[in-house]
Every structure is written in structure tokens, then in C-alpha cells.
Symmetry: C2
Subunit: 692 residues, 2 copies
């Protein structure tokens, strides 16, 4: 039996579980009339946004498809792979979001029964997304494998799939990220700061837009991000499989032949799907469970999935390598990635949870005002880069020692193999957040809100670890893609990899300038996305203010605001603002490659990965810790809600919001997208090695 069939079976199984979860969620009670009404508004807003977004993306995809087709060294098969990747990514995002916008009202209704019921509905809603991402991802790659593995250009065709997935991801993440944070800060600034009304108050015109944002940003955006990491890391490893088989640099063979080297990443990923499914079913607690039990249940799920993945990987290595006398070396590389991923998640939690001193010290600093709050939080974000970088460094060194640069790539797959359950816990958060909002808006009693708040707070913890995991895996994936690019370039140009290695030297001026330019790009990208959120939220602020001013009786609760207006403004503005950062990301590696040549492009990628990694961690963790520092004060510390400390902490949170939910996460996609473009571009550069 072709080992890829195992991957196909696992993929189908993943989709089957997704269907089962979807069925479970959909048959739940939808709650009162009021809840249905709010949910319908969110659904409409989300679907409108994603519809318009996909229409813009369709134009982009068609243009790129044609370009790829007419470039002689690429050709139409690359176009086919590209368009297929784009569709798969869009599909995964669409299904996940469709589910999330249906699970939110059902979670609100379930929370009326018990905490555990609320957890079950929201987590299963999130699991649909997680399972779709891995199921579609691996099935798509399997289809490509069957279609093209006998094509001599297989190596150059398959990156097209990743390019398609990455392109959709950058626009989805940036557009969704701008939408969600512009609506959120807009609602907060007018509602909480200016008018002094609570969060999610129905009088606030931006509140529905805020709920919509959670779905289009944190569900669809995050899903596209992880889908991209997943398929890109497999593609990079497949490309580097040539080294594993031929051992150009290593001097010892790792696997019997190239086909086996390709099967390995697919099987490790497939094992991860099974492990994730088991992990997801382990997330269950007794009917009367409290917060601590919920958190333990989630952790039990993810840790079990990790342990099982390790076992399945060992089996895959045993059958494909060890049994044929090639040893277990690759397994250690996979394990290094897997463990590093878990620890990065834990470190993120340490730096952003108010259970630990870094965040508490930010709350403390807010006693001396917003200035010190922000400085402290920003310093915390910068400091939090230490563990992830050290962990990735150790994983790289271990992986490299055992399996050369193939090891680095497959360590990335090890880190990503439990993606099914990781994404489930990530997507669960916004569902619970939405449910809480719906409870607040529909005027349900405070004890229900307390339950959804508990679910939401749990979601924040899982989101923090999930973000760390997404960043770490993005860095490893991008690095693997960069290495794959070097290999693909030397293949296409017909030069020895060792020669390319020798010339991509840090003492070469082109390499140095490539590195500087690459290091700069994430900074520019962040500046653009931060400004985009600023501009969009500015229009939201003005609209909410206008409605309070012009709609009579709104503040008194006698009239209803025009929610649709805010959703519409957010949609238009965020779709407009997502284009420039997306295009810059796509165009710059092409420009660097064509003008400064293939060496500069390699160092450009590495520079972007390094600063992208650092800025992403800094932004995510600074933002997360400001958010939780505010929450810590809201529990009554340092003066509690309404105190001056709280006001300062709210400002910190406002600063952190676009950093942690727009710019930071988009950087992950940015570095992967640039790297996969380089990989796609490799055959072109072989015939056109730069102007300088």
C-alpha cells in the first residue's frame, strides 16, 4: 500500500470528526429570541465580510494564476497548484468561521445550563475548525502528490500550493485583524472611556462589529495562518527530502530513498491528526466542574495529543527508516520540534498570565499612570523573546545534529503535528468571547455572564499558548522554506548546493544588505498594519459618536443604534487597508531576488525571519500582558475597576490590541509567505540571477 494512503485515511477521518462535531453543535438549542436575533446580526456581518473579502481575493488569485502560468520557468501546473492551495485555504477558513458564528449563540444558551455545557459546545465548535484545517491540508497535499509525483518538476510545482494558501492567509489575517481590532478599540474608546458604559453594552453601535471581528479575525484569520504553517512545513520538508536521501552535506544517509523522505512528513502529520482526535475527545469534565477542572481538561487534551504524536512519529520513523537500517536520527529531530513547541507555549503563558509576576508588575506600574504601564508592558514583551528564541535555537541545533537541514524542516512538522487540537483550543476562545457578549447584550442574569467570562478567560490562556506556538512554528517553517529555496535554486540552476552554501556568506556585501533589508521589512509591515487599525478605528469612533449624538434616546436605552453601519464601515475600511501590506509582502521578495540576486534573497528571508520572530513575540506578549494586567486590576487589585490604575491599564490594553491581534500574528504569515514565494521563484532566478 502506498504510505500516502494512510495520510488520506487520516485526513478523511479528521473531516469526519469535524462533521460529527458540527452535527453536535448544530443540534444544540439556539436560545431565546433575543439571542437568535443578535446571533443573526453577527452571522450576517461575518458572511458579508468574508464574501467581499473572497471576491477581492478571487481577482488577486486569478491575476497571479495567469502570471505564474506565463512565466516560462514556472508554467501552468504551478498555476493549478496555486489556485488549488488558495481554494483549500479559503475553504478551511470559511467552514471554521461558519461554524463559529453558529456556535456562539448555542454556547450562550448552553451556558445557561452549566459551565461544562458551555465549554463542550464552544470547544466542539472550535474543533470543527481545527479538524478542517488539518484534514483539508493533508488531503490537498495527497491529491497533489498523486497528481504530480511522477512529473519531473514536482519539486517546483508543489510550492505553488503553499503559495496559494499563504496568499489567502495574509489577506485573511491582515483584513480580519484590522476589522476585529478597529471595531474593538472603536467600541472601547467611545463606550468604556468616553461614555462610561460597560463592554458589550447594546447601546454601543460598534458592538456587533466587535463580535463579527472576533470571528473574521481570530477564527478565520488564525485558521488560515495555521493552515499555511501546516502545509508549508510539509512542502519545505518534501523539498529538503532530497538531502535526506542523497545526503549531499551530511555524509550519511538518513532514509532509503527520496520517496520515503517525502512520505515521512505526511505520515508524521497524519499521526498528529489521529493524536489530535484522541486529544479532543479527552477534553471532557464532570457536569459540576469548576474553572481549574476546565483548564486541566484542555491541557490533558493537548498534552496527550503531544505524547501520542511522539509515539506515532517514532513508529513512522521505525517503519520508514529504522527497519531498513537507517536509524532513529530523524525521530530526535521531530521530538526536538515537538517539545520546543510545547515549551514556547508555556513561556508565553508565563509572560502574559496574571498568575505570574511579569503581568502583575504591569498592573502595579499602572498606579503611576499610563506612561509607566506602557513602558513596563513593552519591556515585558521584549524580554519575553528570550525563551522562544533559546528554545528554537536548541531545537535547530538538536535537529541539525541528528538530521542536518532536513532535520530542521521535520522539526517544524513535529512542532505543528498537534495542530488539530491546538487550533481547536484557539478557535474555541473567540466563540466563548462572542457567547459572553451575546449574554451581556441579551440581558441574561449576571451568573450566566460569570460562566461565559470563565470560559472566555480560559480562552485567553489557550490563546496565549496558541499564539506562542503559532509564532514558533512559523519561524521554523519559514526557516525550512528558506533552506528549501536554497536547494531548489541550486537544482534549477544546476549548481552544487555546497557551492551555493559557500557563496551565501555573511562576508558578502549582497548577503549583508539582503539581511538588512529583510530585517527591516517586518518593521515596515507592522507600521502599516498598526496605522491601518488606527485609521479604521478612527472612522468607527466617529460613527459611534455620531450615533450617540444624533439618535435620540440611544443613551437612555429607548432607541437602538444602527449596528449595520459600523459593520459596513469596518468591512470597507479593513478590506481597503489589507491590500498594501499584503502586496508589499508579495512584491518585496520578488524585487530583492530579481535586483539583488539569489544570494541576497536568501539572507533577506533570514533577516525577515529573525526580526519577524522577535517583533511577533514582542507584540503578542506585550499585548497579552497589557490585556491581562487590566483584567487583574478588574479583579480588585490596585484600586480595581474604575480607579485611576484601571484607566491607565485600559490605555495599555488599547495600545496592545492591534499589536497582539493584528500586527503580531500577521507577521507569522508574512515571513512564511515571503519564504514560499522565494521557493516558487527559485527556477526563475536560476535564469535571471540579479542585476547587481
Amino acid at each position: 500500500m502506498d504510505p500516502i494512503l494512510i495520510a488520506v485515511i487520516c485526513g478523511v477521518l479528521g473531516l469526519g470528526v469535524a462533521a460529527f462535531m458540527a452535527y453536535y453543535v448544530l443540534k444544540q438549542d439556539q436560545g431565546s429570541e433575543k439571542i437568535r436575533e443578535i446571533s443573526a446580526a453577527i452571522k450576517e456581518g461575518g458572511l458579508t465580510f468574508i464574501g467581499r473579502e473572497y471576491r477581492i481575493l478571487a481577482i488577486f488569485v486569478i491575476v497571479v494564476t495567469i502570471i505564474l502560468g506565463v512565466v516560462p520557468s514556472l508554467g501552468w501546473w504551478v498555476s493549478v497548484a496555486f489556485i488549488f492551495g488558495a481554494i483549500c485555504s479559503a475553504l478551511a477558513g470559511y467552514i471554521g468561521m461558519s461554524m463559529a458564528i453558529r456556535a456562539n449563540s448555542r454556547t450562550a444558551a448552553a451556558a445557561q445550563r452549566s459551565l461544562n455545557q458551555g465549554l463542550r459546545v464552544s470547544f466542539r465548535g472550535g474543533a470543527v475548525m481545527g479538524m478542517c484545517v488539518v484534514g483539508i491540508g493533508i488531503l490537498g497535499l495527497s491529491i497533489l502528490y498523486f497528481a504530480f509525483h511522477n512529473n519531473p518538476n514536482f519539486l517546483f510545482i508543489i510550492p505553488g500550493y503553499g503559495f496559494g494558501a499563504s496568499s489567502v492567509a495574509i489577506f485573511a489575517r491582515v483584513g480580519g485583524g484590522i476589522f476585529t481590532k478597529a471595531a474593538d478599540t472603536g467600541a472601547d474608546i467611545v463606550g468604556k472611556v468616553e461614555k462610561g458604559i460597560p463592554e458589550d453594552d447594546p447601546r454601543n453601535a460598534a458592538v456587533i462589529a466587535d463580535f463579527v471581528g472576533d470571528n473574521v479575525g481570530d477564527v478565520a484569520g488564525m485558521g488560515a495562518d495555521l493552515f499555511e504553517s501546516y502545509v508549508d512545513s510539509i512542502i519545505a520538508t518534501m523539498t529538503l527530502g532530497m538531502i535526506a536521501a542523497f545526503s549531499i552535506t551530511l555524509g550519511k544517509p538518513l532514509v532509503p530513498n527520496m520517496a520515503t523522505a517525502w512520505f515521512l512528513p505526511m505520515l508524521v502529520a497524519a499521526g498528529g491528526i489521529i493524536a489530535s482526535i484522541i486529544g479532543i475527545f479527552l477534553v471532557r469534565v464532570g457536569e459540576k466542574a469548576q474553572m481549574g477542572a476546565l483548564l486541566n481538561a484542555l491541557r490533558r487534551g493537548t498534552f496527550s495529543a503531544s505524547a501520542l504524536t511522539a509515539i506515532f512519529s517514532a513508529l513512522a520513523v521505525y517503519f520508514l527508516c529504522a527497519r531498513q537500517g537507517y536509524g532513529f536520527d530523524i525521530f530526535w529531530a521531530i521530538l526536538a520540534g515537538l517539545i520546543a513547541g510545547i515549551l514556547i507555549g508555556e513561556s508565553t503563558n508565563y509572560f502574559t498570565s496574571y498568575a505570574y509576576s511579569p503581568t502583575i508588575r504591569i498592573s502595579e506600574a499602572s498606579q503611576t499612570g499610563a506612561g509607566t504601564t506602557i513602558t513596563r508592558g513593552f519591556a515585558n514583551g521584549l524580554m519575553s523573546t528570550l525563551p522562544p528564541i533559546i528554545l528554537v535555537v536548541i531545537a535547530i541545533l538538536v535537529a541539525y545534529r541528528f538530521a542536518d537541514i532536513y532535520g530542521v524542516a521535520i522539526a517544524g512538522i513535529g512542532m505543528l503535528s498537534t495542530l488539530g487540537i491546538q487550533d481547536a483550543t484557539d478557535a474555541y476562545g473567540p466563540v466563548a468571547d462572542n457567547a459572553g457578549g451575546i449574554v451581556e447584550m441579551s440581558g441574561l442574569p449576571p451568573e450566566i455572564r460569570e460562566r461565559t467570562d470563565a470560559l472566555d478567560s480560559l480562552g485567553n490562556t489557550t490563546a496565549a499558548t496558541g499564539k506562542g506556538f503559532a509564532i514558533g512554528s512559523a519561524a521554523l517553517t519559514a526557516l525550512a522554506l528558506m533552506l528549501a529555496y536554497a536547494l531548489a535554486y541550486t537544482q534549477a540552476a544546476g549548481i552544487e548546493l555546497t557551492d551555493f552554501m559557500a557563496s551565501i556568506s555573511l562576508l558578502d556585501a549582497r548577503v549583508v544588505v539582503g539581511l538588512f533589508l529583510g530585517a527591516m521589512l517586518p518593521a515596515i509591515f507592522c507600521a502599516m498594519t498598526l496605522n491601518a487599525v488606527g485609521k479604521t478605528s478612527f472612522s468607527i469612533i466617529n460613527e459611534v459618536r455620531r450615533q450617540f449624538r444624533e439618535i435620540k434616546g440611544l443613551m437612555e436605552g429607548e432607541a437602538k443604534p444602527e449596528y449595520g453601519k459600523c459593520v459596513d464601515i469596518c468591512t470597507k475600511a479593513s478590506l481597503k487597508q489589507m491590500i498594501a501590506p499584503g502586496l508589499i509582502t508579495i512584491i518585496s521578495p520578488i524585487v530583492v531576488g530579481l535586483i539583488l540576486g539569489p544570494l541576497a534573497l536568501g539572507s533577506f528571508l533570514l533577516g525577515a525571519i529573525a526580526t519577524g520572530f522577535i517583533l511577533a513575540v514582542t507584540f503578542s506578549n506585550a499585548g497579552g500582558s497589557w490585556d491581562n494586567a487590566k483584567k487583574w486590576i478588574e479583579t480588585g487589585a490596585f484600586g480595581g475597576k474604575g480607579s485611576d490604575s484601571h484607566k491607565a491599564a485600559v490605555i495599555g490594553d488599547t495600545v496592545g490590541d492591534p499589536m497582539k491581534d493584528t500586527s503580531g500574528p500577521s507577521l507569522n504569515i508574512m515571513v512564511k509567505l515571503m519564504s514560499i514565494i522565494a521557493l516558487v521563484l527559485a527556477p526563475v532566478l536560476a535564469g535571471f540571477p540579479g542585476l547587481i
Copy 2:
């Protein structure tokens, strides 16, 4: 005649001009009794701080001297060079600060006569610093040259001088930076925000500490920074001179022999001294001049100095190279650096002055609160990395094309050659700032304060361009040092440079992890320095609050605060807090070199240079633009002083202060210090090439 004698003559001339300027300043009227009293307090605080600081540094220097001496591959001559470098740097900082703390009261007195008189005294006070830095720098190097140029280990001895200078610089910059910003934010938060009293109000206990901070941070710290860049860039170029003479990589000779390659940087620097002297004397305006004329006078000075430097450099290249048939190639490299330096300064001005839209948009954003102000300013800082990176990239490409990696190093000297006048305009700023504070505190009429405010605002403009220039030159210098390290390592290890080039490949795992670690270090360093300012200002805030609470009649102006207490707290805290970031900087390249080996150390440096450059520009320009956005509102825009916009802008300024005056500028020294440590370490690593 030995060409180095020309350098000696120019150095002596520089010191002569410094003496003349000092004489001019000292014979000025010291002003009223009140002014003298304030000035005496500042003087005492400054001298106490620097005395204690130098005592700590003395211990550090002695320990390092012994270590360098006993390491077999280094030896006592390196120790001698190290201690000599440390003394020269400390001396330059001490003289400059001594002058600045005497020029402030005299500027206040002169401003009572006219704006022009004020400018003359303050600028000449600053010029003492500028001339001392270049004079001592070049004389020190000349002495080393005469002492050691026949020693076969000259190449390994001379970096010790730079190491000494850099070590003093990091502690001076970090310690001074913490002092100045802790005092400043402490004074602002209690004074302006909590008590609503104006800046520099005599009732504020931290006000003298704030004045002292300007001198120890912005004068002594900046001087040590630029002194370091100056000598380090010459040392790097001397080391790389071997390539210019032997043309290992270039294939064509640039200069007749190694000695000439060494003379060239000295002569270019010497030419820059003469050019700076002429420029300084060109800074003069009519007795009734207004602001515009003052700015033009300063720009005339710096631009003339640049043009003259270009001419002198051309002459040096003509006599040392072209006349012997070796062409003008090196001149183009020098010119590339010189022009890039000027343009980087201009771009900094664009991003931070309220004459241009980026800063005005930050003022505008403060209408929607502190959160949007901060996001906007931060995005502006990130965006402002574009021109400096592009300019440095172009300078590197041009320099490399004409003169290989020797060209990159000498482009750094080209950029730094006008340091004499650049540092003069930099050091002038804090003198004018201090003078303004003295005017305010001694209760002189508002029209005098207006004059010193005009001088201060001019100082902010020159400080902005000066900072851009310091960052750009630091990046080029560090890069040259990194290249010099590679060369010195291959020399010591007896391997070919081309072999080392081939192995320091971006596809090597050690190189990649070195790069990641290096890229992380500036982030950690910034986190530490930001936190240090936070902690120190926290104690200042508490002390000022305590005095307002406990000293009866203080708020009514009937009693005097205990200024000395705040100075003392600042001194103790900042000296304590400067140690950890300084030691981390010194220890990490040693650890990376010894554990991960020479290749990883090379990429470690490059990673640190890349993120260090980006963070330094971002921090400096974000901070500068917040400061000026606040000033723009104070001119009456968006509600003017006291409005909500103004309050938001003040918070932005508080956030920006430690970024632009502590963390940002310290990064310059950090990357240079790590690079020169690598250079010093090269012979050690040759015998001990890493554990991994």
C-alpha cells in the same frame, strides 16, 4: 615625514580649538547670584555622579585588564591598549561634561543679552566636547601606532584600545541614560501630571536631578558613544587594511601597501577635524538674528564641514593612492558613507520634526486619547527605519563595489569624519536645555525663557539629526568591526579568509542560531534598560511625592525642596541598574564565541547589528516624534496646552523618553562593543573553536 604626524598635528589643533572655546566660555558672565546657586547645585550633582561612576568603572577596568593580560593569546600589551582606551574615553566624557555644566549658567546669563549671545556661548560649550572627542581619539590612536606598529601583534593589540573606549561608553551611556530619564519622567509625572505645576518649577524636588541628568546622559553619554564610534571605525579600517593592500578577495590592489592602507583612515579622520574646526567657526549670526537664521547658521557649519571633508579625503586618496597609480576607488567609498550620513540625519528630522506630517499626525491622533497617540507614534518609529536602512544599504553596495570590504569600513569613517562639529551641535542642545531650566527656576522674565526655548528647540532639531547620524555610523562601524573580526580570526587561526567566508554560510545551523541569538540580544537589552528607568523613576516619584507631603509650605513656595536627595537616589539607582545590561553585552559575545564557535559569533554580531539598528531607529524616532507632537500641541494645535489632547500627548512623551534617550542610543554602543569584543577575542577563538 610620517603621514601619521599629520594626524597628530590635526589632533593637537583640535584640542587647541577646544581650549580656546573653553577659555571663551569660562570668561563669560556667570549671571546673578540665583543662577550661580542653581548652577552650583547642578555642577555638584554631575561631578558626584561621574565620580562614583568612574570609581565603579575603575574596578571593572582593572578586572578586565588583568583578565586580558593573563589570557595567553592576548597578553599585557592588549591590557595596556585597553586601559589606555578606557582612560581616553573617560577623559573626553569628563572634559565635555565639566564644560557643559559650566556653560549652562553662562548661556542663561548670555540669553539675557540676546539670542545670538546665547547661541554662541552654548554652541561653544558644546564644541569643547566635540573637539575633545576627535582630538583625544586621534591622538590616542597615533600614540598606539607609534608604540606598537612594529609589533607583529599590532593587529591584535590595537582593538584593545577600542574595547576600553567601548566599555566606558556602555556604562556611561546606560548609567547616564537611566539617570536622565528617571529624573525627567519622575519630575514630569509628579510635577506636570499630578500637581499641575510647570516644567522646571523650583518647587519640584526632582528638577535639579533632571538638569544633572541632561549633562551626565546627553553630554557625557553621547560623547562616549561618538568617541567609541570614531576610534572603533578607524581600528576596524586599519585591520581591514590588510585586504586593501593584499587584495585577497578583490583581485585588484587598492593601495600600495599595508602601511598606506593604515594611514588612509587616520588622514581622512584628520581632514575631518580641520573641516569641523572651519565649520564650527562658520556658525555665527548677526546680533539681531531670529530662529531661522540660527538654524541656517548651524546647517551652514555642518554642510561646509562635510563638503570640506570630501575635498580633504579626495586629497588623501590622491596622495596615498592615485598618485601611485592605484586610482580613486576608495574615495567613492568614503563619499558614499559621508553622503549617507547626511541623508540619514535629514530623514530623522523628517520623521520627528513637527514641521512635517508624520509628527503632526501623532498630534492629531492624541485627540482620540493616549492609546491612539502611542500606537501612531510607535508606527511612525517603525516606518522611519525605511530611509536609514535603504541609505546604509546603498552606501554598503557602493563602497563594496569600489573597494570591497575595506570600502565598507572606510565608508564608516567617511560618515564619522565630521564628528567634531556633529558632536558640537549635539552637546549644545542639553546646554541650552539646562540654561532654559535655570532661567525658569531663577524666575527671570518670560522673554528670556522664550529665547532659551528657541535655543532648546533648535537643539532638539540638531539632536534628532545627530541621533540618526550616531545610529547610522554605529551600524556601519559595527559591520566593519564584524568584518575585521573575520579577518583577524583567520589571521590568528592561520586559515584563508576565503575559506572562512565559505564556511560562514547562512545554510549552516550554527550560523543561523548565532543570527537568531544576536537578533534577540538588542530586544533583551532594551527590556532591561526600559525596566531600569521604570524602577529608578518609581523611587524618584515616591521621593518627590513624599517631599510634597512632608515639607510644609513647599507647594506654596514658602519652603525649599531637598534637591540633593533626588540627585542622590538617581545616582545610586542608575549606577546599580547600569551594571546588568553592561555585563550582558560584554559577556554574551564571549559565551557565544566560546560555546557556539567563531562562525556563530560572526552571525551573532550581524543579527545584533540588524535588530539593533532597527530598534535604535524605531525607539529614537518614535520618542522624538512623541516629544515634538506634544510640543506641536503646546503651540496651540488640537486644543493646546492643558487640553485632553495635550494630556494624551504628554503620556506619549513619557513613554518615548526612556526609548529615545536611554534604550535607543545605548543600542549603538551595545552593537559596537559586542563587535569589538569579538575582534579582541579573535586570537583566543583561534585556539578554542567552540564546543559545538
